[in-house]
């Protein structure tokens, strides 16, 4: 605090409260909608205070889904989302760790060639190469599978760059000492590099988990079998059916359930996430 200006401080608080209200109001409305029964949700004006149907609605969507949208249990969709998000985040971290290790710690022909090849992936978001990628996945017989949903999203330049940056800050003496003690490359990798980059791995995990959980266009394109629908896709189908028979209480309950896991991950690992985001994305 540089000077004491009660008025500006008050103004700052008022502005921040307005900001929080802007950010939080949609979530509040969602929560309220998820606590009423279907009949109440068709009468205008819609309620602004919670009702008592929260658990009833939750049970209904988790086990039976929304009937007009195919009745796929949201529990199953949440499970699919979890699998895909975990496969994407763990897969990305694993392959980026080892490729960054190779690029930083080994001298070998075509090293820079590989580096540039990885760099290119940074420039090609899945949205712009969507149909040819679909064809590749179809030829590999990976439609309607967890593999097909996650593998094409796994290669990531960002994660490789971040680990490269982290490895470059690790002092050379570490490797010298490890060598004197007779450690080979893989031993050095497991016992020194991994433990030393633990916080970066955790921060990256938060970002990648959200990225994986929120994938929409890709799963939408390659899954036709309801067994593999993710919750984010499910919401879209419910919105379509809402045109005919709006069951907003159930749709909003599903929306709430779809938001909870990523929000939980962000808030529970807030410190690491904030640090990781502002330092790696740059």
């Amino acid at each position: 605090m540089i000077e004491n200006r009660p008025f500006t401080t008050l103004f700052a608080h008022v502005m921040l409260i307005c900001g929080v209200a802007l950010v939080a109001f949609p979530i509040w409305v969602t929560f309220v909608a998820a606590t009423h029964d279907a009949v109440r949700m068709t009468q205008v004006p819609l309620p602004l205070l919670p009702g008592d149907q929260f658990l009833v609605n939750m049970k209904a969507v988790l086990f039976d889904g929304v009937q007009s949208a195919g009745g796929i249990p949201v529990g199953l969709m949440l499970f699919n989302s979890l699998i895909v998000a975990m496969m994407i985040s763990i897969g990305k971290i694993a392959i980026s760790l080892i490729s960054a290790f190779a690029i930083v710690y080994f001298r070998f022909p075509f090293r820079m060639g590989f580096f540039w090849m990885i760099f290119i992936t940074l420039m090609l978001p899945v949205e712009v190469r969507i149909f040819p990628t679909f064809k590749v996945v179809a030829d590999l017989q990976m439609l309607n599978s967890y593999m097909g949903m996650s593998l094409p999203l796994i290669a990531s330049a960002t994660a490789t760059f971040m680990f490269r940056q982290v490895f470059l800050t690790i002092p050379d003496e570490m490797l010298e000492a490890a060598r004197v003690d007779g450690a080979g490359p893989m031993r050095f990798f497991w016992d020194i590099l991994i433990p030393m980059s633990r916080t970066n791995i955790a921060a990256l995990f938060v970002i990648l988990f959200i990225y994986g959980w929120n994938q929409y266009l890709w799963p939408l394109l390659i899954t036709t079998d309801a067994e593999y629908f993710t919750v984010v896709m499910g919401i879209k189908q419910m919105l379509e059916s809402a045109e005919l028979s709006p069951e907003w209480n159930l749709i909003m309950m599903t929306t709430l359930l779809a938001m909870v896991p990523p929000i939980f991950v962000v808030l529970s690992m807030q410190k690491m996430f904030v640090q990781g985001l502002t330092e790696t994305d740059k």
Partner: protein, 293 residues
């Protein structure tokens, strides 16, 4: 780039980069080159054969008033989204810098839309503005405004913009907070001693010093508005009414999967790839530059 102390040549490094390189080739480079190749082909109406047509697909795109319309719309959309999301975030970051109590609480309450999927953000806003039931539509109705984004293109665009901005504020906020925080306190204190008030200090010291972050965020926000908003558009308007919210990334998907014009869709992909590559290069150039205090 390479460590001074490193391991000698062996088969091991190849094995280590292999998974990433294989995935890159199979799912990135090969499909991208296919898109490029396909953009020069014209499929016949029955999908039986295709013919090499050089730049005709691109020519057709630039003669197509719908494509040009989508281009202008995307430019407008991404400018408005980037500008609004960044200004709101910067205002909030400047405010949080002024207070000493409750910083953590405010930050926690402001950051979580980052974790919300674009489709989910779309669902939240479409629910609040549903013409028959939505809470805001009802409020507007009581003051005599008849809201219907399913019929009115301008309102549909407005709703998509609001949802897109809402989701992006959290991300920008975190970067602005980090940037403002890293400015040496002595500079601010010196200005305060010289008699500069909070407003003056913000515009003549803080704002110029965070320029690199602002540029970085500008690029990130434009890329976000170009690509990540597909889910928002798909959930709220499906590009309608009458294509009023059809942005480029939505059109690529629509032309490829609904209208089944593969050559045209591929040509659009190639143009989008060009845009992303230019953005990435700009982004990297600015990251290299650091401000000197």
């Amino acid at each position: 780039m390479l460590k001074r102390v490193h391991f000698g040549p062996s088969i091991l490094p190849y094995l280590l980069v292999a998974p990433q390189i294989i995935i890159t080739i199979v799912f990135f480079i090969w499909p991208a080159s296919q898109a490029l190749y396909q953009s020069f082909l014209l499929e016949d109406a029955f999908g039986l054969g295709s013919e090499f047509v050089k730049f005709e697909n691109f020519q057709a795109l630039f003669d197509d008033k719908y494509y040009l319309g989508a281009f202008k719309r995307t430019a407008f959309f991404s400018f408005v989204v980037a500008f609004s999301a960044m200004s709101i975030a910067l205002a909030l970051a400047a405010m949080i810098d002024r207070i000493s109590r409750g910083v953590y609480t405010y930050r926690t309450l402001l950051i979580w839309p980052y974790a919300v999927a674009p489709v989910v953000a779309g669902a939240l806003w479409v629910f609040m503005f549903d013409p028959t039931l939505g809470i805001f539509a009802y409020a507007l109705n009581t003051v005599g405004y008849d809201w219907n984004h399913k019929l009115n293109g301008g309102e549909a665009m407005g709703l998509v913009i609001v949802a897109a901005v809402w989701k992006q504020i959290a991300y920008n906020f975190l970067f602005f907070v980090a940037a403002i925080h890293s400015i040496p306190k002595s500079l601010i204190e010196a200005a305060a001693i010289d008699g500069a008030g909070p407003f003056k200090r913000f515009w003549s010291i803080i704002f110029p010093l965070i320029t690199p972050t602002t540029f970085f965020l500008l690029v990130v926000n434009i890329v976000y508005a170009f690509f990540d908003t597909f889910g928002i558009v798909h959930a709220i308007t499906q590009g309608g009414p009458a294509k009023a919210t059809e942005i480029l990334v939505y059109k690529v998907w629509y032309d490829g999967s609904v209208a089944l014009d593969l050559g045209g869709s591929a040509a659009q992909s190639v143009i989008l790839m060009g845009i992303v590559i230019v953005m990435t290069v700009i982004q990297f150039r600015y990251i290299e530059r650091k401000v000197e205090y």
